[in-house]
Symmetry: D3
Subunit: 224 residues, 6 copies
């Protein structure tokens, strides 16, 4: 069972971090490879970044379709996910999609902890695309005033506010670059904290094993 | 990794069928046991049936909590799922919940094929509980006029109508007793057909491996 | 016209309080009896409490079906309401359902004042079940910091915050045990405050007089 | 306890029919008077008809506010209901509002049987105003092809189609002029059939008895 | 191309202000006339004010239908808009409707700045009528505590809070009487600020040029 | 006032047809230019087609930003609209967005007539993105069985079914390639038929004149 994790950006460090986190979950039972996207920006922040990542992402799927049994898109804004699902008959899972749907099975409402306020509208639009807007307690990004704290402390504080003020019961990490943070935050918060790549691996491995994939009846079939 | 599948009814034949289907998916990699519910009705059709199954289901969780790592409720109306999630810190997955959420990742809309017209309102209410009503193309039950056909043919016809007339792209089998039908229908329909128990096994096994479970922050914590 | 109010818990004091409040409203024109539920917990707080109350509630309906013309479930989380509606052809009204639907006719939005923060998710889920989530201004429970105040003062403060901060226009008392509080709070708040039992009596008495009851076409008919 | 039923049109025959139906329900226990609206059209069909009825409706409330304890607006499109609620501190109930909210307590979904296809959009908009659009199975009006049948037969046929094809479980009569039809249709259909005036009387009488009325906190207070 | 702007109130000063603002936008390319409504109140605040404005508004449409190519209702609560659309085959645009729909094309979410807290529920109901409630960040009215500030400063402060605290990205001026404020606020806020009359002129002029108007298929056709 | 219409495909014939239709509406008062997208596919049918059109579309905006005052994306699935809005401070309007929002002001519900059944899910997703799903009566594509008819006859038939069976009141043409069909269909149907390019020109010209554009507060600002 081989799964290709497509990191939509070209950053090698983040690619390595995702690989480590995935290996940790795979525990030798899954064969998981994470690749950066050729020609993509170093970080996916804007809509244009998403577009610039698309050709490389398509290329990665096409070049690796034979060797791999499923694909994961490892950026929490699920860039170009519809086209990924369209161009292959193998399962394709976005880490945004997988994480919010698993979150919805673990508690009343979830909050997403994001890297920056600027990304909040886009996260909200994404979660509405998956029809889960009424289960979203909030999208929280670190406040500026805590600027001297470490990133981890800022995310912890955002997550704590979500649990206490927004009535969230589950935390979703809103960036693939937060890989590894889930268990540390979970221990401090006493509530489930979900890493998107791990959630996507759960779904992707399950679908491979089950032998089901994206429906080619209509929406994701380029030839019908 | 041990998973207990709770068949909320007391029917031994259906219990065995679910066990076979689960073993087939588990493929020796998961230790899965399916048990019927002591004191439960032979079939869960009504709200009263659900209530009558509850004490035995609670007992099964309590008696098996140490030995098992996760629990699956194997009736597609997800009877007593909230109380199951409340009484244990181990993951609990309903086959209704798991199947519709996985369905939502595989195509534009899904339809549920149910055993009888009488169950349609309840299915609709369940799917709305999971906030996925706008992704539901239809709940279809076999029409009376095809009475001479086999059950399998009737379900096939209902699924085909869902794909063609209701614009569904994924089919969800709406009863644990349809175990084994998924791959046969899928082959004939050319669209994904999901068995709830298999979908729940994917999620349950994944959550165990990931080490996350139901949030005990508020809704499902009887002591807070 | 005889109405049986089923108190889903076994607490005699709360049963008596509900009886007093109902008698007060009935004013000799309705014959109303409130009974505690045999075998039920003393207070309904958790999903398991609801389940444990179910057998006694079903028994109360079955034993009293001939003598009474309608049934009221007098716990604001409407425990087991679907099964109650299923097992009898007489009207069954939940106090949660009746109070939020009457609230929706009296002002722009309503808030529910609940006993504890822990119950907020469940209340939200209940109100969404009745499709009125967009008319819900908030569910408010007393804050811890006002711990030295009396319960009545705490509920008053929660209701006042709902009116002023959450833009609620109507207050719904979120527990049958708050019986008698409605008029005292209403006087202080200058806004309608609804007691669930009274609201359910309005509907139940009206339905008896009108001669209509739960539809047995599909959802609530165990035999179709 | 005195209730004034405002018939928003000026038709004396319909006024008399509503009075008969109300007396029948009141059964001597309520003092109910139905009055036609001075200066109103003979039938309320268009938005302009609604506007033309408004001055007379306002006048009726103002002239009768002392003598009556509650007001009912007896046209199923609830014309000018917001202004009615605004100008008096006595309860005001629309028959559209009351009937669909009671319908929502009696079954999974309801259908409205209306006089003409032309009125369907307006009915849909009204029911969405009350946030119950997802509980609306359909608005049905008689089809042209059954033109030789009596009105009652046409409405019966529309209601039957709603129950069988649209999965409705409760029927709401969509015009005050259908007064008296409820019990005859109910007997033939085997499902609850609701007359709006009767539903409004249930709520109005209950609110008078309870001593609550429209919130004057904000929306319906012309002076705040 | 001649457009009649109907000011639903009878205030000559506001009529002149709207005329100036419209002339400013028209820039000699459109022939725009603003008229006060005969018999209407001086300011439209309540539901009764809306009703009292209706006869004069209908009269204005009927008397001017030949001479003008489109009508604009220039009160942000869109009073009597449905009847206006019904009685003429020329386009009729409400400034509330036009402004929120254009706002929805310019950013993630919009806020409405209103004159008084009392009007918030009505604005919310209006925006829900247009199905845009999920794009509404907030309706903001000036807080009492800033009472010494000028109206313009209060509205500026309300708009700023909407952008910063409610995550709005576009501001809609919630009263025709705020004409002229848009560009001054926009400059200070750095975000689009929309005046309803200008938005309605954009749509009305476009529809005239395009030669399309209200559909007379069903809802707005009094004769079908 | 100069507007650039970006035809996201590279087909010169369709580009010319759009130009003709735009010139016809512009009537010499607007300076409108339609350009095909360099490097784009000949027709935009799939998600991959949309991605392949993106670089050329971005290039067109960047190269023409100085000379033009607004941009229109002239494919009814609004491909890459978010990125277009992000990369320029000039207004950008999608023909899908503009047409459905104008349709929502002209009648109770609208239907989209599309070229093929395959595109229905994507259209539905697009309209839900604009929050107008509850105003969508249907997306209709020609049925196969009418295969001998001309395209125009097929679209006419689909539109007629939408008006009569789906209760639509306004028709939206679901492809830029249907330019010129609007008035011919409108005459036969007796209901408004909207061409997306014309609708977008109305909004774009209006925004230019008004001097407002996309909010750069957060979602569409790549630098904040």
């Amino acid at each position: 069972m081989r799964i290709l994790i497509i990191n939509p950006n070209s950053d090698l460090e983040m690619t390595a971090a995702i690989q480590r986190s995935a290996d940790n979950f795979a525990n030798g039972e899954l064969d998981v490879v994470c690749k950066p996207t050729p020609g993509a920006p170093e970080f996916i922040e804007t809509y244009e970044d998403q577009i610039r990542a698309a050709p490389g992402m398509i290329q990665l799927v096409r070049e690796n379709e034979r060797e791999f049994d499923a694909f994961i898109v490892a950026c929490h804004c699920d860039p170009n996910l519809d086209v990924m699902k369209e161009i292959t008959r193998k399962p394709v899972i976005g880490i945004g999609e997988a994480s919010v749907k698993i979150a919805s099975m673990l508690g009343h409402r979830f909050s997403v902890v994001s890297t920056a306020k600027h990304s909040i509208p886009n996260k909200e639009a994404l979660i509405r695309k998956y029809h889960l807007q009424d289960l979203l307690a909030s999208v929280r990004a670190p406040e500026n005033e805590t600027a001297t704290a470490s990133d981890e402390e800022k995310y912890l504080q955002a997550a704590r506010s979500a649990l206490e003020e927004d009535m969230a019961e589950v935390i979703v990490l809103g960036c693939a670059g937060m890989a590894g943070l889930d268990k540390r935050l979970e221990e401090k918060l006493g509530a489930p904290v979900l890493d998107g790549v791990t959630c996507a691996l759960i779904i992707a491995a399950g679908l491979i094993k089950y032998g089901v994939s994206t429906s080619k009846i209509r929406r994701y079939n380029p030839e019908c």
